[in-house]
Symmetry: D2
Subunit: 378 residues, 4 copies
């Protein structure tokens, strides 16, 4: 097992999920590389130091350029807010680093295109962290679709419902609530939540050709988390769109942070000629599957407890019946990325694939603004 | 369609379910007989009269013997408290009437045996109203077992959980709460609720050879509903037993009226070598089915929505997806009884079959009293 | 109880649900009127006669005008295909009959307006049979909204998913499949299924101001059920739309007959500031309710088994825990209609209210055709 | 943070869950000690070496006595088959080591008593790894009970259902299937699975006073995994028992490895005067809770998604809505043990508490053998 040094930029929520993944992956997967936590970079030195100690990073810094300049760093892992992805990723690519970048890839498709160009020019391994693809039930759904079990697909439906911004007293901007500031996040639920749904949909069901969207900002003004000043809310609180896929199926997507009772309810349902599939993140270890070819009297939605050895990734973990959780999707992502790197193969979703998701997000926002159908260019 | 006159004794809850069944059955089933509501009998004349008007009975009486003496009555339907079943049924049998009797058949097995002797001597059609057999999902379970889909059966589990007697202020005795008075009901949850579970179990899984039981009376004293006097509680509030079936499988049964949150949660689960089945009365239109012979990756409990035309009884009702309810089990019972009568065949569960249930109930109560295993004689 | 004579036109699926409702309602509800089945009208005499015998209609006819001309008929109940609603209803209104009409009210809003004008001019009692309003769980949802428990509403979501037309071998037109022929049905899923969702939504959440829709016809050509000739499919197989309500909330609606695994899955979810509600027709006896004001640690979606005496309509039926089904919504409808008639009050949804639903349906179809937002005029 | 050296004995399934817990705990919890993996001990040197490399143990050995003799080892963690627990634990206690021992504590209560005596004489910190107590939903259940929310408890029901030994071709004995060999495991499902249920029940509901049990061995003979020779099966394949608790409530427990469709379905339900609780391991992140004091119309079982910051342990992990899994119960166990050790307090379940579970297991097996009620001595 070759050592592989990780330089991580960002010590927030995603910094934790990625650090955990690097720490655990070698205990469960047999990999060509053994990741080592070389350096953590963050804005506040004291916090960066504390994070380094907690997770076992060898060093810390407050200057992300030092991470990229560090010759011993093999992978740059980008866990900062969205408005900094491009600059860091392009610099890392030029420095020849492999890159894992948090989602969404960029602020918009134009910026994402530059990032794709940079990694392709540099020939570096690259991945965007759409981690839900690697929840075993979601990967199993992909297998079933690819095996043709659903037949022709008619409908793809996905929701991502949260309720954490219903109170007008939630501030915006600053460390904890940058996702409510469009100048940092790019957009609201579209880039943060629908991007996940779109990534999975493109993977499961192929390209989207046109979209028609509606967005809403329910609370028009909030206080800034740091300055305390009232400011106009710049993001989309809710976004609904329908669309057409190249394969003739219809899509229906919705995301909101105003769905009381749902914390992170990412759900999808796919209806095919022969079979249908449903999943939701709140019960992430189950896949619902309806097989029309079952005998009529005993036909029903099957609740598959995705914990058996023949389910994706599950032979690495415990024994049948025992569930894994959210964090494991990141472990699978690192395992697949390292394996692909060693084989010199791309690991999905690459920057180029995430660019397609970005194009759909852009089209969705444009459609909502212009109140009309938007065709997705390729 | 030949006319068939019904004489009903008892206008309580069960009087309503049976009257509804006779009123509806001809609208949905093609039957040899068309039932007519000839006479209703009940204790209080005014109420009997009102019931007759509401349901369209041609006449009413307060004397059950008049029902039996009425030459135009073809079926006597017994919906009175348990302590009156035997006398009425034996008289009806002697008068040559077909009989439908509410469950449990009798106060105990000895009395039930006399009733069996009477109907067999008279050669009259007879049925005990264990209506849950004819919930379509429960009938489907029977079909699946009979087709051998479960293979060897290892476990049979059933519960009947209620919560309506938790308050010490619920009275006992009298019209509405005679089920809390052992001198009228015979026993508590054993005869009222477990009798249903046992009837289904014997039907699904064959004879029980031995039982071991525990009962409890949580509230020791209650006021009488009519006299207002404090009296010792004579019934079992809760009863748990395990048992062995002749086929080698193990049974586990429980019933209580102290299970907060459950109104009428009758559930069963059957585990076989190849497949398992689950059902519960609170979602009576679904059958859960696990088929181990499904391919491993897509194996899961199937939630069968028992509303399709190929499900038992369902082609008589609406269209796929649209549910029926509790009352329909009584309609099915009448339909099957009339069909069997016309064919000169017995209709299950006959008095003789219900006697077997009574024997198990008796053994359960004896086991609890004597704190030991009891063998069931045949 | 005053007698009330029903003249029913149409003996298909809806003819059965309505006949059942009239037959049962007096057994369970105390009403000012006692409905009697006076006459059934249908196209084929033999079938009309058989239906009359099965359900106890006093007479039958093949000419609907005779029903309207019959002086003894008090209520005309219209259960024929959609393209005949207007002519019959207008004639019935002119004849001074009370009218219950199956949904959707008309082929389009213009026609519906004429029907509204007719009943209002005649001053006759009128109701459109959007029966799902009177499923107890759906009525309970309305109560909870009206009591302000949800607070400000952000989202209304509804789906009506079926799978019965996936096979290209399903014919169109004729008796059994007139719903696939736009010249008879008016439209496809929009009028047949979404009309239900829209009716409930307007009732629960108030007027819709604008819509944006997409429709699709997956199978372009089918054989006619009677002629056997191949014909272009004229209906919408699937329809998705989003919308804005006057109260500021966003709507998302979808219907299809190509959702494998769903027979009649009508679902809705409403997200409010303080609480959310979910329901689905496949488990129609449950209402899911999330109350944010519950203490944090024990907050969760409540699965309300709508069978208690304090739930809408349920004190008329059995005892807590025992479910009713699809057919009972029609019984409740008749009970409410007769009660309102006696009081001289309108019974919702009236023709005038159903006209609003029709306007939304028209706007949805127009939006899909013109690929743009459509404002709903009032 | 003080370093704390772990000596682990056993590198099987439990060796992995414990190693993972020590590896992760410091990343998520702020603890007085930082555990270091000092030495792993296992039977086969090559495997012990590979395990050490995979998990980062500093050394490995095949002689468990060396672990105990190692002065640098602070905690001895016992993950070997049950028949070796006592000897190792007693030696470790004598050597003054803190001890975490896998469950069940011993082969029987007599042996368990010796182990309790040893740790109490030595005054060493001790814990038995009944890990399910520390699934957050199970801990939440304990909180709710302790707060008196359930009021008087009437019923405690628990099942542990598996299906992995249904095939007669599963061998017994040897590395992977020692749980089927009573000379190694002590018993079958009673010690392996019911011990978990009993531990939770004693914790939630207090002492059990008497038990009445039935066991069965469905497959009488199996081949030995190593020798290939046919041998009598010595364990209980299934065990059912009911019992009385000191607090007057009734218990009903069942475990089997012949419940087709269930991999590790540990469930419990507790019915109290005011509220009820349900949980199952297959959906371990949810707790079902019924609160009778909710207003009648909106009363229902609440499905609590135990992922919020105010749920036990959950503020250490991710954000609301994101689930953790099976493995985390072991992390919580280590965190609590280290915290208690530092405070000089016992950490439940101690050896002394696990002895009570062992006594119940012994009584259950005795009851089944002697076919009679057994009182539990204190």
């Amino acid at each position: 097992m070759k050592p592989l040094n990780v330089g991580m930029i960002g010590y927030g929520f995603m910094g934790r999920t990625h650090s955990n993944a690097y720490s655990k992956v070698s205990h469960f997967f047999d990999l060509p590389y053994k990741p080592a936590l070389r350096v953590i970079c963050g804005l506040v030195e004291e916090q960066a130091k504390a994070f380094a100690e907690k997770w076992g990073f060898q060093s810390h810094t407050t200057d992300w350029r030092k991470v990229i300049e560090d010759e011993n760093v093999d992978i740059v892992d980008i866990c900062v807010p969205n408005n900094m992805h491009a600059e860091i990723a392009i610099a890392a690519a030029k420095a020849g680093k492999a890159i894992i970048c948090e989602k969404p890839l960029a602020m918009n498709a134009a910026q994402a295109q530059e990032m794709v160009d940079a990694v392709e020019a540099a020939g570096v391994a690259n991945l965007v962290s759409f981690n839900y693809r690697r929840v075993p039930a979601v990967t199993l759904a992909k297998q079933l679709i690819d095996e043709g079990r659903l037949g022709k697909i008619f409908h793809y439906r996905a929701n991502f419902l949260q309720d954490w911004t219903i109170s007008a007293e939630v501030p915006q901007g600053g460390d904890g609530t940058w996702r409510l500031d469009a100048s940092v996040a790019g957009s609201g639920v579209t880039g943060d939540l629908l991007a996940h749904c779109i990534d999975t949909a493109l993977w499961h069901n192929g390209p989207i050709s046109s979209v028609n969207a509606m967005t809403e900002t329910f609370i028009k003004q909030r206080l800034h988390a740091e300055t305390g000043q009232a400011q106009k809310v710049s993001i989309d609180d809710a976004c609904t769109f329908f669309c057409r896929f190249d394969n003739g199926s219809l899509g229906n997507f919705e995301s909101t942070r105003y769905a009381r009772g749902h914390k992170a309810l990412y759900t999808f349902e796919i209806n095919g000629e022969h079979a249908s599939i449903r999943w939701d993140l709140h019960d992430l270890g189950r896949l619902e599957y309806f097989e029309h070819r079952d005998e009529g009297r005993v036909r029903g939605w099957r609740s598959i407890h995705v914990t058996d050895g023949d389910h994706p990734y599950m032979n690495k973990w415990w024994v049948p019946g025992l569930q894994i959780g959210y964090e494991h999707s990141f472990v699978h992502q690192v395992a697949d990325f390292l394996t692909a790197m060693d084989a010199g193969k791309p690991c999905s979703p690459t920057f180029a694939e995430a660019l397609e998701t970005q194009k759909v997000c852009d089209a969705v926002l444009q459609s909502a603004a212009e109140k009309r159908w938007i065709e997705i260019g390729s």
